[in-house]
Amino acid sequence: MNSVLFLVVIPLLGTFISLFNKKVKEMTFLITLFNEIFTIYIITCVGLPKIAIIGGFLPPYGINFVLTDLSLLFIFLVNTAGLISMLVINEKKTSKFYSVYLVLLAANNGLVLTGDLFNLFIFMELSTFAITALISYKRDKVSSGTGIKYLILSSVSSSFLLIGIGMIYKTLGTLNIADIAGKLNLLSVPTLSLIILLIFAGILVEIEIFPFNIWFRRLIFQQMPALM
């Protein structure tokens, strides 16, 4: 089932094509529709292998995508949300908006599917940049102020995430998430708690869970309706 990677590759390819394509909106809609249909096709396939190999190298040496029931549910949610937001957009947008949107779609798909810790970090950065670009799309007072705050906060938190990943590689010598999960009980308790603290500090700030989302509320109330 290596073809599950099309969920990430096709939107990214569409991003580049959108740079010199006149009918960007139609193309974006087609790509989102393709993703949705492909997701439904993947879900209906029974007897899937659990792992999609990238680059021909078996895990834990290469990067891989993992298909579980949970990740199938989440790619369905992500792509459905993408399709709905494509249908809701009715204002005229520049082509850059659609490029950023496609990158965000690909990043969210990859974030759900990936089975490699450093790959997760890169997808996280990708979605950070895409979200910041969407926040500051209108270029007025609120959006530029909120955009810069989000970028600074998430950069600091992703630095913590990167330190945590480095410590995991230093102690366990692997980056594959399944491999790490198998070896995690080898760690001593203080080291394990430090690593967990760093990684959670990184992830929680970036996905705006409750205590870390104070800066975000105003944006939702003032800015999000204008984005549509």
């Binding site: 670009a133 007072k141 609120v142």
Partner: protein, 121 residues
Amino acid sequence: MSLTNLFLISSASLIFVGLYGVLTKKNIVRILLSLNIIETGINLLLVAFGYVEGGIAPIITSSESIANLTKMVDPVPQALVLTSIVIGLGTTAFALGLTINYYKNLGTVSISKEEEEKINE
């Protein structure tokens, strides 16, 4: 003090200096400079994690270096750091563009309580 400890201590102190800057400064450009210092410190820290005392660079130049493969420093953190340097450049460029836009809208480059109120109007 061994070389490994020296590298670990210097990179950790860079990270802390940068964190101090991010926490206390109000000027956005200055915050971004501190952020870059943190990123440099993290890159040093990751490469120092892979350093082996008396190791050699992970490049095969002749037949002798193949005999010494176990003495090489760990190449994986170096590959990760290559990625993270480029991500740091992207962050810097995007944040500076946002800063210029912020300056154009508000006439200042500082984030503080007064500017918050100005935004809310």
